[in-house]
Every structure is written in structure tokens, then in C-alpha cells.
Symmetry: C2
Subunit: 337 residues, 2 copies
């Protein structure tokens, strides 16, 4: 399998990207990497990896570039070239830590949607707090601001396939994010989405779920419109950051006693931070396009790059996208291995 890597995307590029790729290249002999970006800057962080190739380009998309315009005009940007490589079947998947909007655009315009999918969505894997064995997928977290019930219906099928074939959950439960658990709750979109999900035999729909229960692992897959999903994901991040800030203040802005307490608790608190860091589950997948297109945080470090490569490896190994292509073309469920 071949992964096209935008080596210039993200705040710590190319260092963090290349170092993460090198980590992954050592572990996964079956991956060939093609790194797009400034060759000399990239080479600095490489040693003698034989499964990493560099395609040099000086151009890149900045984090504040207009997504559509930059993808259209910067034809030699590292991200655009990487997407072109996937389109031209020179690579099987695309990885970037760069401009999210541009990556969505490149995924849609260059790589293209799976036939039958109207709106690919963005899907991260998030932790279930208090249960290290479990995670959940939330879809869509912002690929589409305006969402139809039919889109949410497709997210449910897409994310269920991911949970089943990539994460290995036998019968993933699907919840619809809503403003109450009762069947008749919701806005116009969720009420109509509920009916579609309830009638869908391909998924294990468990009904409406509330945002309060997400991190408790209320479902293996939670579907929502991209506007709400975006707000929920950012609220989780913001609240977690605020809590860490309060915790720091509780330790350092009090007396000596609290400082000692904090020191004794250090390992426990590091564990806590690690449990919340969902980058170890990989990046957010732009799901519904013809190849794995995966995005990590702009502030990514080499470890999260490594974890995201691992995730792409699992996606490619599982053939989840081929299965989805088949399903949406023929509406036939793949036979489980």
C-alpha cells in the first residue's frame, strides 16, 4: 500500500510529519510513503528509510488560505500533488495535517466522492471516558454546514462500516445526536433522519442520544449534522482545556500543601491527559471519498502522525472503502471475514 503524505501541512511541518512517517515506515514494511514538499527540509529528518520517496515541490497551502481557491490555483502545493497522486492511482491514501478546508476540498474535487454518496463527512474517533477498551466515532464534525436527513443516514452507514471493519466492533450501535432521547424529539432534520435510520437494516440504530452521554460511550457511532458535530467537538476540546486550566490553578495558585499534592498526583494527572488525547486513535477521516483521506490536528506531533498512519494502514488493510463502493453501487453487504 502506498500513502501520499502532505509533508508541509501543520504547524510543526515538515519536522513532526517526517519524524512520524519515519516511525511508521520502520514498523510497517508493507507501506510505501510518498512525501510531497521541500526535499532538503524533509531529508533532514530522514535516515536511510527505503520505503520513503520524496517528490519535491516549493509550493504549499497555508493554514489561512481560502480552501477552494488555494486548491484550484496552487496546482503544485504539496497537498494538491498528494491528492493528485491518489486520483492517478499512484497512491492509495492521503494524509495531511494542513488546512482542513483545503483538504476537504482536495478530497472532494480531486479524489472525488464514492458513487451514491452525496456528502462525505468528517469523522474523528473519540475516547470513552472510564473505559480504555472503547472509543466512538462522531460524524459529521464539519465537512458540511448544511445537512439533509439523507446525509445523516449515509453517515450512519459509513461510520458503521468503519466501526465494524476497521475498529472490529461486531455489531456497532448507532445513535442520533438529539436534544432528548424520546423518539419524537428534535428539529426538523433530526426527526426526518430518525425515520430513515430506524428503517435502515444495515445498521444497529439505538435511537436518540444526548450530548451529555457521548463520552460515556452511549453508542459506537454517533451521527449528527456537521454544524452541530463541529460545535460539540469544539465544546469537548474547550471544556477539557478549561478543566485542565482549573486543575493547574488548583495546584499552583494555592498553598504549599496543594503544590505537594499536585506533585504526588503527577503520574495520575499525566494518565488523565493521555486518556483524553484522542490523537492516539488517529485522525479525522474525510469519509465518503474514493480513498482514505485523513487529517490530524495542525499542532500534531510525530506520535499522532504515527498513529494516523497506523489508522490509514488499518483502513487500507480492511478494504473498508472497496466494501463501501460495492455497497453503494449494489446495496449489497460484504460478507464478513
Amino acid at each position: 500500500m502506498r500513502i501520499a503524505v502532505d509533508a508541509m501541512g501543520g504547524d510543526n511541518a515538515p519536522k513532526a510529519i517526517v519524524e512520524g512517517v519515519v516511525m511508521a515506515a520502520k514498523e510497517f514494511n508493507d507501506i510505501e510513503f510518498i512525501l510531497y514538499g521541500k526535499e532538503d527540509a524533509i531529508r533532514k529528518y530522514m535516515t536511510d528509510e527505503t520505503n520513503i520517496k520524496i517528490v519535491h515541490t516549493d509550493e504549499k497551502i497555508a493554514s489561512d488560505d481560502d480552501p477552494v481557491r488555494s486548491v484550484r490555483r496552487k496546482k503544485n502545493a504539496s497537498m494538491v500533488l498528494a491528492a493528485q497522486a491518489v486520483k492517478n492511482k499512484e497512491a492509495d491514501a492521503l494524509f495531511s495535517a494542513g488546512n482542513t478546508g483545503a483538504l476537504l476540498t482536495a478530497g472532494l474535487l480531486i479524489i472525488g466522492r464514492i458513487k451514491g454518496i452525496d456528502r462525505p463527512g468528517l469523522m474523528p474517533t473519540l475516547p470513552v471516558v472510564g473505559n480504555d477498551e472503547r472509543v466512538f466515532n462522531l460524524m459529521d464534525v464539519g465537512a458540511n454546514a448544511d445537512t439533509k436527513p439523507e446525509n445523516i443516514h449515509q453517515y450512519a452507514i459509513l461510520a458503521s462500516y468503519y466501526a465494524k471493519f476497521v475498529r472490529g466492533v461486531k455489531k456497532p450501535t448507532v445513535g442520533l445526536l438529539n436534544n432528548g432521547t424520546e423518539e419524537n424529539k428534535g428539529n426538523d432534520v433530526t426527526k426526518r433522519a430518525y425515520a430513515l435510520l430506524a428503517a435502515e437494516p444495515e445498521i444497529d440504530f439505538i435511537g436518540n442520544v444526548e450530548a451529555r452521554e457521548l463520552l460515556n460511550g452511549v453508542a459506537d457511532v454517533v451521527v449528527t449534522d456537521g454544524f452541530t458535530g463541529n460545535a460539540v467537538l469544539k465544546t469537548i476540546e474547550g471544556t477539557a482545556m478549561s478543566m485542565m486550566k482549573l486543575l493547574k490553578a488548583a495546584i499552583y495558585d494555592n498553598g504549599v500543601k496543594e503544590k505537594i499534592g499536585g506533585a504526588l498526583l503527577k503520574n495520575g494527572l499525566m494518565d488523565m491527559k493521555e486518556k483524553l488525547d484522542y490523537s492516539r486513535y488517529g485522525g479525522a477521516v474525510l469519509f465518503g471519498v474514493k480513498a482514505p483521506v485523513v487529517k490530524t490536528h495542525g499542532s500534531t506531533e510525530k506520535e499522532s502522525v504515527y498513529f494516523t498512519i497506523k489508522q490509514i494502514h488499518e483502513m487500507l488493510e480492511s478494504h473498508v472503502i472497496d466494501d463501501l463502493v460495492t455497497y453503494f453501487e449494489t446495496k449489497e453487504t460484504p460478507i464478513e471475514d
Copy 2:
């Protein structure tokens, strides 16, 4: 001023409600309370307060009753009688810790909307983390699942009035919750709401704000549709609870060292919990109806009842609703005291 209290609403009613009212009755001699509910059960928690009157009724609305049906049919329910008292000018405000949907219904159907307000919204006051002096108002958190740009425009005026005249913020900033800070971001509703807010001279609109920044105090007032606001509020609550769970695990599920650390940190952690407990700012206001209608959490304790009464006292003292009635009738801004 006279406050009609639904003494039977909430998990800890009537005990917590009556005890909270008694606390408030001692402090606020200018308030007369009318408590609706089971007289003998209420009297158990009273002493010799002269400014508390009881109106006996055996009926009440349960937390799982259908909101509209229960308000229509249970004509003698404590909440319904309290709302009727406000409608009949026997009381100036309504307090309840009961069924939220029923309270919204009672507020809308019995007390009624301010002329010119299409959709009253539900508005809590939330803490700014790391700054004890500041709070912010979020509106709407779920009174309306389907929201038009015009509703969000009215929320901005309503919540600005609250921040100014009740909270005493001289020039409250208003942010529109959106999926990015750039002007052109958003879904169809927020894009159109942005235009209305930007053109509104009555408010100090600072543009789009992201959910990640809410608890950092990005604006004094944040407006959003009720579906998103509901999801965001519940995500804040859920994430905070999950973090406290992780923190407990960090202390108790590790070694002796961590347990001692936790003991030393105890006061700091209690502070932390208190800072997040937004009930000290009062309850959520159903704002846009003809009188203060305020709801506290169903699991409320006497302290939050007290704080909510204090909040209602401030609302009545500020004449914010009279000012809003005047503004929406005449579009004339009240002269500041």
C-alpha cells in the same frame, strides 16, 4: 415584588425548594413568596416566615409528563397554578425546578410572549473559567429546536438587555456561535443571522465565535439556535463530569502516593468544582415572555434555589422586562439609570 413558586418541581421537592425559599425570604424582605403545592409537606420546612404564603394543591406535573398535554390538562398542578398567578397579576415572576418542557409551555401558553417576540429562548448564565469576575449568557439552549435567523437576532437583543441591566455589563459584547470565526463561515441560518446582527445598532456584535472559546469568555453574550445551544450546554456538562470522573480515578485508582496527593489537593479541587457549578448565577431564564420565568436544575439543592430567587429579584429590580416590552413595542432604547 411577588414570586410564584412551584414548590413541587424537581427531584428534591418540596424540601430543597422550600428551604431555598426560606433562605431567600430571610434576606429579601421586599419579596412576597406564594408557594404552590402540598401544604403540609411544604410547612414542614418552614418556620415563622411572614413573607411566605402557601396555596395548597394536590396535583403536580411529573418530570416525564408530556409538556403540552400536562400543562393543558393538569389545571391544578402546582406549576400551572403558579403560572396562572403571574398571568392574573397576582405574582410578578415564576420559579420552578420541574419539567423543563412543561415550564416552557406554561410560560408561552399561560404567561405569554412579549409583543414583537416570535420565539422566547432559554438562557442560562455560565462561568468564564479562569476569571471569577466574568460570566456569559448563552441563548437559546433548547426552547426552540427549529430556529430562524430572526429568532437569533431577537435572542441577541434580549440577552444583551439582560447582560446590561441585570448583570450590569456596560457594553455587552455579542458573539454568534459558528463553525469558524470568519465572516463568511456557517450554515444557512448563521450566515443570515450574521447579517442581521451586524446591522443591529442595539447590540455590540463582535462576529462569529467558536465553541472552543466559550468558557474562555470570548463574549458576554453568545447566541445560537436552540438545537446547537442545547448540544453545546450538554456537552459542557458531560465533558466536565467525565473530567471529574477521570480526576477521581487518577487519585483513587493509583497508589498511596496519589491518594495522599488527592487529600492534599482537596481544597483546590473543591474550589474547582465550585467554579464550574454555574447554579450560583441562578437558573435558566425563559426570556421573551411577559414576566421572569426561571428554571433551575431538577437536582437542585436549597443553595441554587436561593441563588435563583436572588436572580429573579435582580431581574424584577432592574425592570428589564418592562424595558424589553417598551423596546419591542416602540423600538426605543430605555435611558440608562
